[in-house]
């Protein structure tokens, strides 16, 4: 469902991502962890079509992101780490805007939008301007909008930042439910406990290179640590 082949991004003086190869099958919830500046957000931006890679290919649902970006993006629900939105629109208007971009018809939109706003506890705020929303509310609105067109792939950068505990539980359960229903989720996070809780597999990126991939148990074996949390495993892996 998500295929990355020799994906590379070079900036003027640095290599942000180097020769990244990764295949994530349908229905898998994949966690992507790494220290600050490791290349997580760059990878996510390339997968979402926000950045063009210097080298390599990205295939989403079998569609090449470089050759057919519009078709590939139609399959994706993209959730960035920072919730920048059109502040002068209301929450419901932003949902309408998103629905129009994905060509969702009016009747389906109403039903989906109401359900999405209710799921993320934003129903009462639907007619308020986004500029009056808190950081967490904006993050929840982006999630509701990203799910509006029933994407087959969700790419999400730091989903838990700014969310309250109830929303974190909601998002964790939602992601697990969506993955079980066949949606592929690529999630970058610093919250290692969340990654350990919900991810089927976890990839560790360090200095632009993937240094380990596997289930949490497999990562423990790679790090030669038993009976330890993912934090210890992560620290050991990046030390190596």
């Amino acid at each position: 469902m998500i295929e990355l082949f020799q994906l590379t991004k070079k900036y003027t003086h640095t290599v942000a991502v180097a020769d990244l190869n990764l295949i994530i099958p349908e229905g898998e919830l994949f966690g992507f962890i790494g220290p600050n500046g490791a290349g997580k957000t760059t990878t996510i931006k390339m997968m979402g079509g926000l950045l063009s890679p210097t080298n390599g290919r990205i295939r989403i649902c079998g569609i090449d992101m470089i050759d057919q970006p519009v078709k590939a993006k139609q399959c994706i629900g993209f959730i960035p780490d920072r919730p920048y939105l059109y502040e002068k629109l209301t929450g419901m208007e932003f949902m309408q805007f998103t629905a129009d971009l994905y060509r969702i018809d009016h009747n389906r939109f109403r039903e989906q939008a109401n359900r999405g706003l209710e799921l993320f506890s934003l129903s009462e705020w639907g007619d308020e301007l986004i500029e009056s929303y808190s950081h967490g509310m904006k993050q929840r609105l982006i999630m509701a909008a990203a799910l509006l067109h029933d994407p087959r792939v969700i790419i999400v950068d730091e989903p838990m930042v700014g969310l309250d505990p109830a929303a974190i539980v909601l998002v964790k359960n939602l992601f697990r439910r969506l993955a079980a229903a066949g949606t592929t989720i690529f999630m970058s996070t610093h919250t290692l406990a969340v990654a350990e809780d919900i991810c089927d597999r976890i990839g560790v990126i360090h200095k632009g290179k993937v240094i380990a991939i596997g289930t949490p148990d497999e990562l423990k074996q790679m790090a030669c640590i038993d009976n330890a949390g993912l934090e210890q495993v992560f620290l050991r892996l990046i030390e190596k």
Binding site: L89, F97, E131
Partner: protein, 564 residues
Amino acid sequence: MISFFTLIRPRIYSLRRLTQQRSGFWPRLFKLGIIGAIGGLFWGGLFMISLRALRYFNSIETLGELLLYKLFSMILVTLFSMLIFSSILTALSKLYLSKDLHLVHAMPVPSDQLFFARWIESTMDSAWMVIVYSLPFFISYGIVFNSGYSYYAQLMLILGFLSIIASGISALVVMLAVIIIPANRIRSLFVLLGLCVFIVLFLAFRMLRPERLVDPDVFVTVLTYFQAMQTPTSPFIPSTWAFDALKASLNGNPAGALIHLGLLFTFAGFLVFANLVTARFLYYRGFSKSQSANPRLFKFKNSGILLRYTSSTPIRAFVFKEIKTFIRDQTQWSQIFLIGALIIIYIYNFKVLPVEKSPIGTLYMQNLLSFLNVGLAAFVLTAIAGRFAYPAISNENEAFWIVRSSPITLRQYMWVKFVIYFTPLLVLTEILIVTTNILLKVTPFMMVLSVVTIFFMVPAVVALSIGLGAAYPNFKSENPAQSLTSYGGLVFMTLSAGLITAVLLLEAGPVYNIFMADIRHHALGGAQKAWNIGSFSLAFLINMTAILVPMRFGEKRLAVSYPS
């Protein structure tokens, strides 16, 4: 005081970095050079015009000096008003609305020191441009009156004091107002009020028809009126003290200026003290209040019907988004008022044109003016496109990720933006052209020619603005509308002016041929026909090139410039 210096240090560092950064040094220098050259040309133009006008006034016997002083006093009052208006807006941004204030207020710094550091920045930011562009007038006065160095030295001091006084008054007003009304609303309110006052004054001045001053019959009456108007300005206004000081200095009596200089100095000092005391009690309270969200002024739910009868497409998404964000941004309203006033004055100018008094034939004059009017309307179009269409891409701000992650190409996105701005601008420009042509009573040929020329010129100017706006975006700006003064904005204005000139020059010959043949009831010769077809085709081709090339250029640059 240590905190004060620490607080202004980031600003000094960022200025220093401009000269120290090695990467991109030469392109930056080139851009700065172009902006500096244009600014310098404008400054020089102002200087030449004011020097010539003042020398002319000075040559008028008995009334000349009176007129010069009256004008001097008016310039100082205007300068002081502009300083106050500019200071209010800058103080609001610097003291209450800047994004970095959250960080700064969390630091262990007394609020009066924080206020003082910000207030100094605000004073300099609000005053430098007003002062730089007022210097041509003051220097011209010095030259006309043959003043010595003391005049220029006092001038510098006085401009400094006036800036501090204007900024001091503004900061006091802002600190008090923020306690009552949210900071965001105040900015919109002041912009709106300021523009209303400006528009009313401008309209009133235009309706007085100052062009009659060049009519010898009316000129004497106007001068007599000025002579009768010798009432002094209020002694409580700082600009009066500045006037009295500078007048003494111009008359070769610099010692006589000292008392007025003293007044300015002590009042500036008093305002600094009053601001510091007020800031200690009010600044933090106001800042805290400005953090709460504004309630919406109006709540309309009128787009339901439109949504039901239009299909769900990216075009609809952006059209609705643009319209709604535009209507809800109160700072845009003032611009609309300004454009409205500009259009009224534009049309009024044609209504009062004394075409019948022209020594050239009336019919010829009417049609010549109509042809030149195409260029004028296109320049108005450039100004409006520069204000609204050029920042359209930058207006997305940091929410541009939405566009990049959406299932539309950058090309589609840019053409959607093009359509959104092309439609109203075409209607507006055609209204201008048709109305003024009707007032001029032009021939049917000129009417068709100007309507068709504008029909092709509007998409070219709009494409230039959208394309170059995409090529030089600024997604981090707090006010993207100001991007017109950036390098990309200047490139747009220059290219647009070049396009308009090229099209007019190409059409001038054929238009003259056709018009004269029509008047003389002659048929056009073969060579003339070939010339006409060639020129009109070339004008058409230039317009088409101006539509396609900037859009492609903008698309390519935008694809690589995100994220910046």
